[in-house]
Symmetry: C2
Subunit: 254 residues, 2 copies
DNA sequence: CAGGTCACGTTGTCCTGACAATTGACACGG
DNA sequence: CCGTGTCAATTGTCAGGACAACGTGACCTG
């Protein structure tokens, strides 16, 4: 009699290029992820045991495990001891972490427009200083932007960055997102602390966003840190609740 | 001349119990995490190289790496090739994922009160069926609750669960959070999909929450899945914006 | 003194091998 | 018919070693 079925992938073509500088486990992870996305691996299907998979690919088991683990961390796979590893029954799959509004909109196929209202340098002041962990009289770059889609205002973004970190040109800010500019300057974001709330629009805000006075606004404050733990950016943003909602996926932190 | 300083922890007492059923890497990870929390390992300090650490503890390098990696995933440590592993310059440290409002409040030291407004069974209907991935005429348990703190309304929670999953007793719902009851029933949450928005309060909602009509409300919809990918719960909640904000931390998903 | 070069230390990747723990399926006995 | 024990399959954990890639700092050179 045959061994237990080694999974539903069957003739899924997998293979690694040992001459590539890309790590083997990463190559495998990418191929598996692609197979899941394209439907080559259907939700609920077993992945075939690690030993056999390693043998078939000419890899060692730890390498295969590392690839699988990275997908488990992404929430694409679930491991079950004694059973096997299976593709999670995805309903929706949206990671959405540490991206800016611009990235989100661009990914959705919309081409957002930006109007820079202000691009200055000024002393931080108590609130910004506390958020960025700097002195109150330290200088920060202040950027105020209005984000529009389909010609309609969508959000009003206010950002504070430690001065000297990066030169922000107004023209660049109208062309791409703030986070893109940061990455381009060699700053890699590592983590961020966010707070999302709501409040009624003031008269000035209502005018600016073409919303009714007293209408509901979604507020978001975020402080972003790079991998040294240094605060890189503090933003205080308001969104028209009628045109925007935050969507994200949570994974258990066990 | 001496070797490069093996890190700032120096006389930090670490050790594992090989007779414990707790995995070695987990023991080490816990001790390191505790040392970071209590200040035994100060932010920015090096952790000492993995080889030496492994030798000192009588462990192999992969085991030590696994422990360190788990803390890197949590955002507590940062690895730098050629440099070493250092404690992240923590500003704030808040995981906050996949918890219920009750959990959050309880963790904050408040003792929330719950008033169960409804606890019924009914057909799902199109909206709930789509969220849970079941048939429209399938029966679901419907729970409506009012959450109060300090005697004041805070949120109105509406939850839908597939019928037969769990017996929800009104008395239990007033005593603990829904997610606690799920865990107690052996259901382990794996992931959730959330959407956070805002809107103005209707007259009925304003009365119920003791808020001004038309006042800003924070809305949250969440579908939670267990580790088989089965939808376990769909919730549609409203919070008084004046009394609640969502706070959470993001880590880069590289 | 400035700039490039090289040695060194550290983490990244990968291999082989072994045993433990957990789950599900099946045969067996009550 | 049902409970129970046994067994096989699979992932979980751990060891020990080897080489590669990368960043730093010291050294050498111009």
């Amino acid at each position: 009699m045959a061994k237990r079925d080694a999974g539903a992938q069957g003739s899924l073509r997998l293979g690694v290029d040992r001459n590539s500088p890309v790590p083997l486990y990463f190559q495998l992870a990418q191929q598996l992820e692609k197979a899941i996305e394209t439907g080559g691996l259907t939700p609920g299907s077993l992945l075939g045991n690690e030993i056999e998979l390693a043998g078939r690919l000419g890899l060692s088991r730890p390498t295969v495990r590392q690839a699988i683990q990275s997908l488990v961390d992404k929430g694409l796979l679930v491991r079950r001891r004694g059973i096997g590893t299976q593709v999670v029954h995805s309903q929706v799959r949206r990671p959405l972490a540490l991206t800016s509004l611009y990235d989100d909109l661009a990914a959705a196929g919309q081409r957002p427009a930006t109007r820079v209202l202000r691009n200055d340098i000024e002393p931080a002041g108590p609130r910004v200083a506390a958020a960025l962990g700097i002195a109150e009289d330290a200088e920060v770059a202040v950027v105020e932007r209005l984000r529009l889609t389909h010609g309609e205002p969508m959000a009003r973004l206010t950002n504070y960055l430690p001065a000297g970190l990066l030169e922000l040109k107004t023209a660049e800010l109208e062309e791409s997102g703030l986070y893109q500019l940061l990455r381009r300057a060699g700053i890699t974001l590592h983590s961020a602390r966010q707070a999302v709330g709501a409040r009624a629009a003031t008269a000035a805000e209502a005018t600016e966003l073409a919303e009714a006075p007293g209408g509901p606004l979604l507020t978001m404050e975020r402080t972003a840190f790079d991998d040294t733990g240094r605060a890189v950016e503090f933003g205080s943003h308001i969104y028209r609740a009628s045109r925007y909602t935050f969507e994200f996926q949570l994974l258990d932190r066990s």
